[in-house]
């Protein structure tokens, strides 16, 4: 346990030192504030809570930005240490490889969580100052959105480790990280859409479609935040989907947690097998 905390502490310190954490916070806060104020401008007409609208726009931001930051942090974690020559020494110390991996995971996730909470929190606080108090429902959905963003980040940190443990070259890891990002954030949805259009509802039932959505962590996140709330889903244009949603929040959270656990376990397995 002690060893894990020591490794996590070093990752956090490293992140703070090389301005990684600062950069992530500023990026998240900057984009979140922009979206919050651009997005809340027309809500007076619709009559929706500006915070609810911000949840919708920030969710879309999360889907693109959080996986990217998570992969940038994690893809180099193992292959980079091997390459720099720091891994060999670490492995000669009295700690096992899964402890190294879990320690790094906790460290990187902390950086990501702090960046998300500070960045989105800044946007939320600014909206509160500008528009006054919000009702409890809006605040709850905002908190859910921030929490599930961190969980989505955890998924991509774990995927980044799996890449980092498997490949031999840092450049390969970077390339694969970009590929995973493109696939899960953009291409999978496009492919799914193409499939639905060409299928015309003949073979793919609504239930099958829901299951297909669980195969992409970004879609799980989308369902969790955009379709999960009755009010939000109207603004998000996901009301139609929400009506056919067969999974509750617990199922979606479990699916997302599985997306963390499986790549992380695989990364630990690959890492323990590799010779230094």
């Amino acid at each position: 346990m002690n060893a894990i905390a020591t490794i996590a502490g070093r990752e956090i310190r490293d992140g703070l030192r090389n301005r990684w954490a600062l950069g992530a916070v500023l990026l998240m806060a900057g984009l979140a504030l922009t979206l919050a104020f651009l997005g809340s401008a027309p809500t007076g007409v619709v009559g929706a809570s500006p915070l609810e609208v911000t949840v919708v726009s920030l969710s879309s931001l999360t889907i693109f930005l959080v996986p990217l930051i998570a992969l940038l942090l994690s893809h180099d974690a193992i292959v980079g240490e091997r390459d720099r020559g720091t891994m060999l020494l670490l492995l000669s110390y009295p700690l096992s490889r899964w402890q190294i991996l879990v320690g790094k995971f906790l460290g990187h996730l902390s950086i990501l969580a702090v960046a998300t909470v500070l960045g989105y929190g800044a946007a939320g606080a600014a909206l509160t100052l500008a528009a006054g108090e919000f009702d409890a429902d809006s605040l709850r959905s905002f908190a859910w959105m921030v929490g599930s963003s961190v969980l989505l980040g955890a998924v991509f940190v774990a995927l980044g480790y799996l890449i980092s443990a498997t490949v031999r070259e840092r450049a390969t890891a970077a390339g694969l990280a970009v590929g995973i990002w493109l696939l899960l954030v953009l291409l999978y949805d496009m492919a799914l859409l193409g499939l639905l259009v060409s299928d015309q509802g003949r073979t793919i039932s609504a239930a099958a479609f829901n299951w297909l959505l669980l195969l992409d962590p970004a879609d799980i996140f989308r369902l969790l935040n955009l379709a999960g709330l009755s009010e939000t889903s109207v603004f998000a244009g996901m009301a139609g989907l929400a009506e056919q949603m067969q999974f509750g929040r617990a199922v979606l959270l479990t699916a997302l947690a599985t997306w963390v656990a499986v790549p992380l376990a695989l990364a630990a397995f690959v890492f323990s097998r590799k010779e230094p």
């Binding site: 310190r13 720091t86 060999l88 670490l90 000669s92 009295p94 230094p276």
Partner: protein, 302 residues
């Protein structure tokens, strides 16, 4: 009754595909002994060290470290008493020297209070609060030594410890090594440098994965039985001509000649040379370590 060896290897091989990196190596290092592994780049020195540490598993053979399998589950417990300085040691460049050493101290469960003493001992006290990224090669190597010393190790593995170091740093390394040996620690080092090897009780010569010879330096010299050269300077060449006509010598120029003789014939050779008229200087040139390695490697191949 001999004590059980600290490091023990029997028939150890490491093979990648069809190529052997280490082949059929036997080595036993007694407690408190210092053994140097010598060989060209790619001779298998680092691989051997990694296997002894349990970082690589041998394809064949048996290794014990402090009586245990170094790659086994129980290895975690005794790794606290093992120091390792890898070849080209590296650290996170954004951390200061002090932070790096404290990090490793926590991992080894050593009180962090002693890290400042260790930095002092390796001569890094003044640079302790600077980032490792600003360190020179020698300073990084000193920091590497400091982390290897954490936890009063019983066994130390030093992989090319003094490569790229200046004379002062080397002397510091040798001082620390001598202290460690006085404290009863076992040392296994790999090196190219003759000055490193002189610190060792025994030398193991490796060539293409095989251990071609192992013994104390004088013993290896005897085994190789290489001739040594004696270089004689004279003030006047003519006086020595009569002597040199009787023996096979090689004149380097008008005032210098060299003669070669077997190791056991050197006293006789020096006596006869020193009786010559006009001799101003006599240089003894024992075979170099490179000569020795090449000769022993050649003998092993035959």
């Amino acid at each position: 009754m001999t004590m059980s060896p600290t490091i023990f290897m029997e028939g150890v091989s490491k093979r990648y595909g069809e190529t052997y990196v280490v082949r059929d190596v036997d080595l036993s290092v007694a407690p408190g002994e210092c053994v140097a592994i010598v060989g060209h780049n790619g001779a298998g020195k680092s691989t051997l060290v990694k296997m002894a540490l349990g970082l690589l598993t041998p394809t064949a053979g048996r290794i014990t470290l402090l009586g245990e399998n170094p790659a086994g589950r129980q290895a975690m417990a005794f790794r606290r008493r093992i120091g390792f300085l890898p070849e080209n040691v590296a650290f996170s460049p954004a951390m200061t020297g002090r932070e790096v050493l404290r990090f490793y101290a926590r991992l080894k469960q050593v009180p962090v209070a002693i890290t400042d003493q260790l930095l002092e001992r390796v001569g890094l006290a003044a640079a302790a609060r600077r980032r490792v990224g600003t360190y020179s090669k020698g300073m990084r190597q000193r920091l590497g030594l400091a982390q290897a010393l954490l936890g009063e190790p019983r066994v130390l593995f030093l992989d090319e410890p003094t490569t790229g170091l200046d004379i002062e740093s080397r002397q510091m390394f040798y001082g620390v090594m001598a202290e460690l040996r006085d404290a009863g620690a076992t040392l296994l080092l790999s090196s190219h440098a003759l000055s490193d090897i002189e610190q060792a009780d025994r030398i193991a010569i490796m060539k293409a994965g095989r251990m071609v010879a192992c013994g104390a330096l004088p013993e290896l010299r005897r085994q190789a039985d290489l001739p040594l050269r004696i270089r004689v300077h004279v003030v006047n060449g003519n006086a020595a001509r009569e002597f040199t006509a009787r023996r096979s010598v090689q004149w380097l120029d008008d005032l210098r000649f060299e003669l070669t003789c077997a190791d056991d014939g050197k006293v006789e050779a020096i006596r006869s040379v020193s009786l010559l008229e006009g001799v101003s200087d006599i240089e003894m040139m024992p075979p170099t370590l490179v000569d020795l390695c090449d000769e022993l490697t050649r003998e092993a191949a035959e």
